[in-house]
């Protein structure tokens, strides 16, 4: 049974076609579940087809024309997913919109997409859409799923989902040929038709509508299914915003192509419980979800009895030692293997059970870098968690970590059929079957993103490691160049520095300069406890930062970073030449950090201009005076003479030689 979807794939290149096929080959398998009214309401593929057909015909009766855009707004509910395919069956284009976006933003998207129809979840969304009347939103019909509170609304433009279905049903019973015509219309659809428009928020400017064809989605999905051996027996839980490309691909494209079951949670508060009940076999979550999970696990274990905690700590040690190796299928000493299986019974098994990942076949995380310790924690439990790199324009998949080839600092190898290259400025470019056809009504943006021959700019700078894995180092626009032309990726260097517990913050400079220099902030807790152990007396941060021993220690760290950099051909030119330890901690109160504790590079460069000058003019120390805001709000100034250290860069050859020794 498994893998049936693949063998029957030929020529079935749009979701409506796939639906028709699934209704035949998976007729009685469950396609969708939704926890509603206390139980998991289920629909089989053939029932889903019925639902969609009725709704689709109802839409047709309401006047939906091929090419019409249908906005879909709401949380993960089966009817919202169905409305997308129902739209596609008529040649329309669904435009999922983030449900939590404010009315003004939503109005822009709807106007830009020229949506004539909207399928929304409930009263909240209806109200939002109705409030846009008068703006140039061309909405003609709004269809809602949840009728609560909407009874007394004017229903000339407003329709309940069930009412639309009833229209379709009437059509079906009145006209025998209607069903056939509907299917014929579907058969006319082609793989290169526009399937969906997904608006990306983008860091700057208005959202852009990414146009994806059926081919983009279907081929990417099929490749991904094959890559991770997903088939109709799998279960997934749909809980991420449905306007996000990930959810669209996982919960719709891959679900349709593989034929697996999509489970919609009861509400946002019950996601954890719902996941536990379903125990998905395929699971995606952004790093923060895993982070929260780990925090909750640790917090709860803190409250456990001492014996239980000891057991937990012991077996987590075992897992850390050999869990990942066992998962990767490597050789592990017999004793560890025995201990690990004991741990599986006592800790890992129950733990996976509690977080609802017992049946996990493969899990992915992406979006931002996941903390290595978090990643390792889940993997050491025996969960096949992997990272991927993707974006809306690629229909998600650009690179994937294959089973057993997991490296914390890379995002994996190119996904099947994806070509990858690194531009001169370090930017990652790809060409894939998933590459979008363009931004809707925004040729300018399309041209600057997608080249004539199909290469798409990701906007991220990266390098391809020797083993063929892609490593993302920074946003491409933040990556600069030294005057000698070598690549300078400040965040990459800073992250490497911050990897040392003694270093709390680092700011690297070098763009359009002849060498790389860095400010360093020591971590008061870590260095403080080091000082205590080594009988180093200090009265303040400033004093500790200026201590020669501390400088010595940091120097070693910087040297280590340089050594690492020298091993990477593209990065070897950007080793840290000189550094200083700042006399004060970077502080959000002084505007040096954002409130989310991110370094404000330009502000710092301005504020400590004379220190930067000193770094580049070769002096060995510099006296400086800095205005500060104390915790109680008083202002003051601190003065210090900051020492500057020179470093000797490692040459690439030297490192190779070392390795040979």
């Amino acid at each position: 049974m498994a893998g049936l979807a693949d063998t029957a794939a030929g020529g079935v290149d749009t979701f409506p076609k796939i639906l028709l096929r699934n209704a035949v080959i998976f007729g009685d398998r469950t396609a969708v579940r939704e926890k509603d009214f206390g139980i998991w309401q289920s629909w089989t593929w053939s029932e889903v087809l019925d639902e969609i057909r009725k709704f689709s015909l109802g839409l047709q009766e309401l006047g939906l024309q091929p090419g019409d855009k249908v906005a879909v707004v709401g949380s993960n509910r089966p009817r919202l997913y169905w409305s997308m395919v129902a739209t596609q069956a008529l040649g329309g284009v669904p435009v999922p919109v983030y449900a939590d976006s404010v009315a003004e933003e939503m109005a822009y998207v709807l106007a830009h997409a020229e949506a004539r129809f909207a399928m929304v979840e409930d009263q909240e969304q209806v109200d939002k859409l109705l409030s846009m009347d008068g703006a140039d939103v061309p909405l003609q019909h709004i269809i809602y799923d949840e009728p609560r509170g909407l009874r007394d609304y004017d229903h000339t433009r407003l329709h309940a989902f069930t009412d639309v279905q009833a229209r379709g049903e009437k059509l079906l019973s009145a006209d025998a040929g209607c069903r056939e015509r509907w299917e014929q219309a579907i058969a006319k659809g082609k793989g290169d038709d526009l399937a969906v428009m997904l608006y990306t928020s983008g860091t700057t400017g208005r959202p852009k509508g990414v146009m994806l064809t059926f081919d983009n989605l279907v081929i990417s999905a099929r490749n991904a299914n094959k890559f991770d051996r997903l088939d109709e027996t799998d279960e997934i839980i749909a809980y991420l915003p449905l306007a996000w490309v990930g959810d669209h691909v996982f919960s719709l494209a891959q679900a349709y192509t593989a034929g697996f079951c999509v489970n919609c949670p009861e509400s946002m508060e019950t996601v954890d419980v719902d996941r536990l009940e379903i125990a998905p076999s395929y699971f995606f979550a952004p790093p923060r979800v895993f982070e929260n999970m780990l925090t909750r696990i640790m917090v709860r274990m803190e409250d456990a009895g001492p014996l239980k905690r000891k057991m937990f700590d012991y077996f987590m040690d075992v897992a850390r030692r050999c869990g990942e190796n066992i998962l990767n299928g490597e050789d592990v000493p017999f004793k560890d293997r025995v201990l690990y299986s004991l741990g599986e019974f006592c800790v890992y098994g129950p733990l996976k059970n509690r977080i609802g990942l017992t049946r996990l076949k493969v899990g992915y995380t992406a979006g931002e870098a996941i903390g290595p310790e978090i990643f390792q924690f889940f993997r050491s439990l025996g969960l096949n968690l992997k990272q991927l790199y993707g974006q809306t324009e690629a229909a998600v998949y650009i690179t994937l970590q294959p089973d057993g080839e997991i490296y914390g600092d890379t995002v994996g190898k190119p996904a099947p059929d994806v070509e990858l290259k690194i531009a001169d400025n370090g930017e990652v470019l790809y060409r894939s079957p998933g590459s979008f056809i363009g931004y809707f009504k925004n040729d300018e943006a399309t041209q600057s993103t997608k080249t004539e021959d199909g290469w798409v700019h990701t906007g991220d700078a990266g390098i391809i490691a020797d083993n063929g894995h892609l490593k993302i180092i920074d946003r491409a626009k933040d990556v600069g160049k030294l005057t000698d032309g070598s690549l300078f990726a400040p965040k990459y260097i800073e992250n490497k520095l911050k990897f040392f517990p003694n270093i709390k913050e680092a700011v690297a400079f070098g763009h359009e300069r002849d060498k790389v220099c860095a400010f360093i902030n020591i971590d008061l807790t870590a260095v403080g406890s080091w000082a205590e152990r080594n009988n180093v007396n200090y009265a303040s941060y400033q004093e500790l930062a200026a201590h020669p021993d501390v400088y010595g220690m940091i120097e070693k760290h910087v040297d280590q970073v340089n050594r690492d950099l020298s091993r990477e051909p593209m990065m070897a030119g950007a080793q840290i030449n000189r550094f200083l330890i700042l006399h004060k901690e970077l502080d959000a109160d002084d505007g040096e950090l954002t409130r989310t504790q991110k370094v404000r590079r330009n502000f710092i460069a301005e504020r400590y201009g004379e220190l930067i000058e000193a770094l580049y003019d070769g002096s060995t120390s510099k006296h400086t005076r800095t205005e500060v805001t104390f915790e109680d709000g008083r202002k003051g100034a601190i003065e210090a003479t900051v020492e500057i250290r020179d470093m000797t860069p490692h040459s690439a050859a030297e490192t190779v030689q070392e390795a040979a020794e």
């Binding site: 709860r300 129950p350 509690r354």
Partner: protein, 358 residues
């Protein structure tokens, strides 16, 4: 730890409302039943069956009966012993009047007599609550005990004043009277107990069980929601007394062979009450746990001195047993006033959330 609930989802209300919605519980129950129906009969000796298993089951059933009234409907009763006696005497009269009818049938029918009498004594419960109600049931206890002594018709004018169980067969096997084998008795007792426990579990999760608990938890709110207090309480009295009656009849027919009024004295009432309280008010499994503790522990205690080679007179052992049981009752009330069922519940919860503490 053993509970792996991930992936156990319910797609219908039927399965969501099942008696044991968790797979592991279903397995556990199946194992217990298999032990009771297969392992015990195959391995146990006569002593174990007669002195431990049969009385344990009889008391469990009685405790279920009292639990319905006290644990689920919140009405305190001290008359359990007498209601059990009514069942015993009714079954005895029936089987001596109609010797040819199946005795098990009579045991089951005898419960209706005690249900009727229980309902009559439940009438004051409309106006009387708590300790005051205990007086009503005490009146029942002493009045009925008096009846068992003073009405010779009830014991067929036996000179001894006791009822002696005649020999009765079922499907060709002797199940009651002195000649019945412990195994045959065991199966009958087990069958009846499991059967009634199952039926009552059904009642408890439905409308009627809920109405009892409504009365128990907040009688005024229940009444204002349309629950008729008298009807509901009387039903609890009747159902409770029925079960106790059946247990009482089983006690004499399949365990003691003969019984006199003092067998159904206030002490029996208290014994059953202890089982219910220590087992856990409002829990069926608690009834079994409580019965096991109150019945089996003293039996075990009697064997401990000889087992460790101490030469102590039987009487002394008896006294010590009283002390130990009394002491343990207080101990467990202090440790867990909600009974063993709660202890099990806590343990189960711990196992479910393992390795987390909550």
């Amino acid at each position: 730890m053993f509970y792996r609930e991930a992936g156990q989802f319910k797609t219908s209300y039927q399965s969501d409302q099942a008696m044991f919605p968790i797979l592991q519980d279903r397995i556990g129950m199946a194992v217990i039943l298999a032990v009771a129906f297969i392992v015990v009969p195959l391995t146990a000796n006569d002593f174990f069956l007669t002195s431990i298993m049969i009385p344990f089951l009889v008391f469990s059933l009685a405790a279920i009966g009292l639990n319905v009234l006290t644990g689920f409907c919140g009405q305190l009763s001290l008359g359990t012993g007498a209601f059990m006696g009514v069942g015993a005497y009714a079954a005895y009269k029936l089987t001596t009047i109609f010797p040819d009818v199946n005795v098990v049938l009579f045991v089951l029918i005898s419960g209706f007599f005690s249900a009727g009498i229980g309902a009559i004594f439940g009438l004051p419960s409309l106006r009387i609550k708590g300790l005051y109600l205990a007086v009503t049931t005490l009146a029942a206890q002493f009045f009925l005990e008096w009846c068992f002594i003073r009405i010779p018709w009830l014991y067929n004018d036996n000179a001894s004043g006791a009822i002696e169980v005649p020999k009765r067969e079922m499907f060709g096997v002797i199940v009651s009277g002195a000649e019945a084998t412990p195994l045959a008795r065991y199966f009958v007792v087990l069958g009846i107990t499991v059967f009634i426990a199952f039926l009552i579990a059904n009642v408890l999760r439905g409308r009627i069980g809920r109405s009892w608990m409504m009365i128990r938890d907040m009688d005024i709110a229940a009444e204002l929601m349309g629950i008729r207090p008298l009807q509901t309480k009387l039903m609890a009295f009747a159902v409770s007394s029925y079960i106790c009656g059946v247990a009482g009849a089983m006690m004499v027919f399949f365990w003691l062979n003969a019984a006199e009024p003092s067998s159904y004295s206030i002490n029996l009432s208290f014994q059953i009450l202890f089982m219910v309280i220590l087992g856990g008010l409002g829990s069926l499994s608690g009834a079994f746990l409580g019965a096991a503790f109150i019945w089996i522990l003293p039996v075990m205690l009697k064997f401990i001195p000889s087992a460790i080679g101490l030469e102590i007179g039987a009487e002394t052992v008896e006294h010590l047993t009283f002390m130990v049981v009394g002491g343990l009752i207080i101990f467990f009330l202090i440790v867990e006033p909600h009974g063993f069922a709660r202890l099990w519940q806590i343990a189960k919860q711990k196992l479910r959330v393992w390795p987390f503490p909550y």
